[in-house]
């Protein structure tokens, strides 16, 4: 399964110019607002016609300007989960779910319907009307509706943006299941580093209508300083980690990462196996000497590699701890006082409580 997207689309003051090749799994399309993410997915879905381009999904040409070919939107079989769920208000949840399926003449397939309903945990909602659902429930139904229309590709345009933090946390595990259990490739649009870091295997960073980075999520995230504006506050890295032990007395779990060993709150983490850990730049404190008499449990020796961004009062530093890259966001004053220049040996200090469940994906 491959997805080829080559699109050039100009509107006054903005040009989208993208040439991408994506594979299976969950691919994130990341970038600040106005970077062209939604325009691109609308072009793929056929909701907007590109100035020029060629889009091929799984061997089927959806659009080819040069050949004068443009498959109408309803024949593309591109599932689309919108920012607002867009459920049909006059149909109950069951009819919403089966809408696309019914149109494709695949009324049967009880087992598949049950599987999707079960995966998204919406079994108890089937008889309800969309107006009575919470934002998170609506979004899960919208995902189910798109999946059941048997799409070649599932587009998700900031599906969590309209939800509050509690709802986001509620829906996140369902998205992880979707990624792991569904065979449909997913293009997930987001401007949230946390979402992309937790969900995506590969990511495409878009800025000003152009692809500025594309690759494995961890690698692209490590170089996020290339993205202009608004990103540094959420800058951070994703690290693969292995659970190597627990301290039941303190309810802590020990993780081995490429950056070193870290203790994190146990919560519902498994006692063994692999997880992914996100370390936000703002959670990293820097010390010149190995810290003593400090409450923080984690200290990783490393070297300052670069100052990647300088703000009014803060700077973003790139460190190398063992073989991993870690970002630290400290005040400009601290950077000056401690002379945090490239080559400086430091210790990255991390509070365990900052590495809570929201930072870890299974």
């Amino acid at each position: 399964m491959t997805i080829e997207i080559a699109v050039r689309h100009a509107v006054p003051g903005f040009t989208l110019d993208v040439d991408l090749r994506l594979g299976n799994g969950l691919n994130a399309l990341f970038g600040p607002s106005g970077s062209g993410k939604t325009t691109l997915v609308n072009v793929i879905a056929g909701l907007r016609r590109p100035g020029a381009g060629r889009i091929v999904v799984d061997g089927t040409v959806l659009h080819d300007s040069a050949a004068g070919l443009d498959l109408p939107r309803h024949r593309r079989r591109i599932g689309y989960v919108f920012q607002e769920a867009r459920l049909f208000p006059h149909l109950d949840v069951r009819r919403n779910l089966l809408y696309g399926r019914w149109l494709r003449g695949q009324g049967g397939g009880r087992a598949e319907i049950d599987a999707v309903v079960e995966m998204l945990g919406i079994g108890s909602l089937l008889a309800r009307r969309p107006s009575g659902l919470s934002g998170g429930e609506k979004q899960r139904v919208a995902i189910g509706r798109a999946l059941l229309s048997a799409p070649r590709l599932l587009l998700m345009d900031e599906p969590l943006t309209a939800l509050d933090e509690a709802r986001k946390a509620e829906i996140m595990p369902y998205l992880e299941r979707l990624r792991d259990e569904s065979r449909v490739p997913i293009l997930y649009v987001s401007h949230s580093v946390a979402e992309v870091g937790r969900l995506a295997g590969e990511m495409v960073a878009l800025s000003g209508g152009r692809v500025v980075a594309h690759g494995p999520t961890a690698e692209v995230m490590a170089g996020l300083d290339i993205l202009p504006g608004g990103v540094t506050a959420e800058a951070g890295v994703m690290l693969d980690a292995e659970v190597v032990g627990t301290e039941p007395e303190w309810q802590l779990t020990l993780l081995d990462t490429a950056a070193g060993r870290l203790a994190v709150p146990s919560g519902d983490l498994p006692a063994a196996g692999r997880v992914r850990l996100r370390i936000r730049a703002r959670d990293v404190m820097l010390a010149l000497d190995p810290p003593v008499g400090v409450s923080a449990l984690n200290s990783l020796p490393g070297v300052v590699e670069a100052v990647v961004a300088t703000g009014d009062s803060a700077v973003l530093l790139r460190l190398r701890c063992n073989t991993a890259v870690v970002f630290a966001r400290v005040t400009r004053r601290s950077a000056a006082n401690l002379d945090l220049v490239p080559g400086r040996r430091v210790h990255a200090v991390l509070k365990s409580v900052a590495l809570d469940r929201a930072m870890i994906s299974l």
Binding site: P72, H74, F82, R86, Y99
Partner: protein, 236 residues
């Protein structure tokens, strides 16, 4: 029915009431499909002549009803351009028939119907239609399964208005198809006739009360129905 504390409709009066109901129902039913089409064109179409179509549709609202009736007579009378053709090919005769009364009522109610439906169409969240398209629905199916159910309250409101207008239509009807008892004498023209004859006051009063009852029933029914539909398709 008809016997209510010395309150009795004559056979002629009953005929007028029944004819009015039939004329109004036929006029409303037959103008619904073209009204939905025209409302769609006006709400979403971008074409030269948009303003002219809009003006034509609204003309009966502004013209004196006598003028509309006269124009119908010219166009759909026995010797009228359209009337002659319809009579010859389809056997459909309008002049001095109840069908003509229905046509006059339909033309007079058409602007109200189109307005109500157009407002409903413009209120439809088109993003829902996009969503339906990504799920595999072609334009026709999107209209039938998403747009139409969502504009149903508007269609209903328009239909009630058009029905009420048809029940009360007088000027265009009497100009076009005259006032023939049993054929084209509707409630309104019957009341008018009674007012012309000495001692007709009782008949006028009876038919007036019937008019009020029918109008109230229609309005209450529409209110209940649209409330039910609105609850069913409540957005967000």
């Amino acid at each position: 029915m008809g016997r209510l504390a010395g309150f009795e409709l004559s056979a002629e009066e009953w005929t007028a009431v029944a004819l009015s109901l039939r004329v109004a129902a036929v006029a409303t039913l037959f103008s619904l499909p073209p009204a939905v089409g025209v409302a769609l064109l006006l709400a979403r179409g971008r074409f030269p002549g948009h303003a002219i179509l809009n003006g034509l549709v609204h003309l009966p609202l502004i013209l004196p009803p006598v003028v509309t009736g006269y124009l119908l007579l010219i166009g759909f009378g026995r010797r009228g351009v359209i009337g002659a053709a319809l009579a010859e090919h389809l056997g459909l005769v309008f002049s001095f028939r109840w069908t003509g009364a229905a046509l006059a009522a339909a033309v007079m109610g058409f602007p109200l119907l189109v307005r109500a439906i157009r407002l409903a169409i413009e209120a439809v969240d088109r993003r829902l239609e996009d969503a339906a398209a990504t799920l595999g629905a072609g334009p026709g199916i999107v209209f039938a399964t998403v747009t139409l159910p969502l504009i149903l309250p508007g269609i209903l409101a328009g239909a009630i208005l058009a029905f009420a207008k048809a029940m009360g239509e007088f000027g265009a009807t009497i100009t076009f198809v005259s006032n023939i008892p049993g054929e084209t004498q509707t409630l309104a023209s019957a009341i008018y006739t009674f007012m012309q004859v000495p001692g007709g006051d009782a008949g006028v009063l009876r038919l007036t009360l019937v008019s009020i009852a029918i109008s109230m029933a229609a309005l209450v029914a529409s209110e209940l129905l649209s409330r039910r539909i609105a609850r069913r398709i409540e957005t967000r």
